[in-house]
Assembly symmetry: C2
Homo-oligomer: 344 residues x 2
């Protein structure tokens, strides 16, 4: 996403790798739709997009009568669009909190304050990526291949990503890792996005169906699994894209380390354990159809949880912008999100 | 598949559920192509198709000069088409062995003997299905929902199938189970075939992506997993469609029984353990494309093992046509395939 003169430009990820188009959103309604339709996705990226949507809300003519009420209603509405990743609610609350009480009545002042907060969220996200990269690179120093799931790279964050950031850094240092990218059904973020961005960067990427990841680990073809996270509970349970949990079970079965790369803003001590994290269920149509083509017979139902919970005891270590965190996790996980992000 | 006057009629499963077309094969070459392209698939069904292909080989004009050599070469060629399921090699060897030495020089006699053996393989397969159904129904008597993978029903065998046979029997008895059908990437046999045949039979089927099966088990939504097998080693290790092994790991993690339904002909004591079973690797294009549409960027590699190995210690019980077999498996698994099937 890129903010340019009152417009949020969003690379439409649903068209990748075939089409590379940018949407120009000028209202929070358009940004919310883009988030709902996964045109912008990835825990960090939707947080950033929602922060800029708050700026657009502050600028809307509809805000004139009751600016604070209008923007606060948008904070609630944006949070509801995708409930699992904690970044979205944190970002909108942080933007809200950044608008001084005496700035609300002036369109230019409230928008400027919101924009400064949104820019800060984006800048911090870019910086966290570099710190995760350096921490993760040490853990992967001896590996020749890793398995990853979904997309956690340049398309999912403002920087080089979370789980993919160490891989980009190692490549830059001349240590080229092979990445087995789980395709990540139903929406194929691994195939369409991870394979695309890694291939663009010249990194050796091998695509696999999600069900083949356990075979890759059983055959000793990879020395680590590294994934991102949408929310991490106080006890270390991890909500991430559906298919992450079986990957963690397979890693455990073969003694392969399972790393979760995420910035401090992903840790949510308000959720004591995984059971407290809301797991979004999406349209069954995502499972029964693909690219407009029906794959299941008409009338067949589908269950489509977008995320699953990986219990903390399967996580070898968290790779964060505050360094590597190893078990026992209670008391060691980030409890204080970045400056201001829990205010409001 | 259906034999009719020198022609093997094959329901083309690659078109399901949209198109339901039959191929008419009159040469072993055509049958081999249909097996390779998965127009006919399922361990039992490809064994039956290969047996009839041997009849077509015995009938070919090309067989006239050296009938025995010609048909034996076809036995080797058919076995090589899909190496993992043991049924294919067993079936062709059994047909070979059924042709008396003095019958080879007479086209009508060698073809009649081959046809009798092929018909026997088909009839035995139909009978095994009923026996597996009865054994499995007892194990699933208390369940309200099960998870299955790939397709192991009426499309995969001559009868009601292996893993799906108990479900059909229970439904007939008024005990309707819900079936969570893993879609089974890359070729979506679960979505296209299992969902289709269960829905046709009025059975409650809910489709899931393969990565969501662990979530179904973690949430307590199913009380058993039941799958088929392509080959079972002497120690009980199971070769089955890729994605079976992570499903077994998830079942174990949640204390859900993991059943493997297979006739005695699937057990191969010649393979001491799973490592001795050849695992077919298929065209990477199956992974990088989805229903004929490219999903990964051009040039991205894929690893496409068609099967995986589930270690015996994850199998709660085998459901066979000789009853339910529980651990310890050594010495308890069928070592003698059906009459004549190992001769030749």
């Amino acid at each position: 996403v890129e903010w340019r003169d009152g417009t949020l430009l969003i690379l439409d990820q649903t068209g990748l790798p075939g089409r590379s188009e940018r949407l120009a959103a000028t209202t929070p309604t358009e940004v919310a739709a883009a988030i709902r339709q996964l045109r912008v996705r990835g825990a960090d990226a939707i947080g950033i997009a929602a922060a800029y949507a708050m700026v657009l809300a502050a600028l809307e003519p509809a805000a004139e009568d009751d600016p604070r009420g209008h923007v606060e209603r948008w904070a609630v509405a944006l949070t509801a669009v995708r409930p699992t990743a904690v970044h979205l609610s944190r970002a909108v609350r942080r933007v809200l909190a950044a608008i001084p009480a005496d700035a609300w009545e002036r369109r230019d002042r409230r928008a400027a304050a919101a924009l400064a907060a949104a820019r800060a969220i984006e800048a911090e996200d870019r910086a966290m990526s570099g710190r995760i990269a350096r921490a993760g690179a040490k853990l992967l120093a001896a590996a020749t291949a890793v398995v990853t799931h979904c997309n956690t790279g340049r398309l999912a964050t403002a920087g080089d990503g979370t789980a993919l950031a160490p891989i980009y850094l190692l490549a830059k240092r001349g240590h080229g890792l092979r990445v087995y990218a789980c395709e990540t059904r139903p929406l194929l973020q691994g195939a369409r996005l991870t394979a695309w961005e890694l291939a663009q960067a010249g990194i050796d990427v091998v695509q696999i169906v999600d069900g083949a990841a356990a075979s890759v680990l059983a055959r000793g073809m990879a020395q680590a699994v590294i994934v991102g996270a949408d929310r991490i509970a106080g006890n270390g349970d991890v909500a991430n894209k559906v298919g992450t949990y079986p990957l963690a079970l397979a890693a455990r079965a073969h003694g392969v380390p399972f790393y979760v790369a995420a910035p401090a803003s992903t840790f949510d001590p308000a959720a004591a354990a995984g059971a407290a994290i809301p797991l979004e269920e999406r349209d069954p149509e995502e499972v029964t159809s693909f690219l407009g083509r029906r794959v299941a017979p008409h009338g067949v139902a589908a269950f489509n949880p977008a995320f699953d919970i990986t219990p903390a005891d399967l996580v070898t270590a968290f790779v964060t912008d505050r360094g590597v965190i190893r078990p026992p996790y209670p008391g060691r996980l980030p409890a204080d999100p970045p400056a201001g992000s829990q205010a409001g």
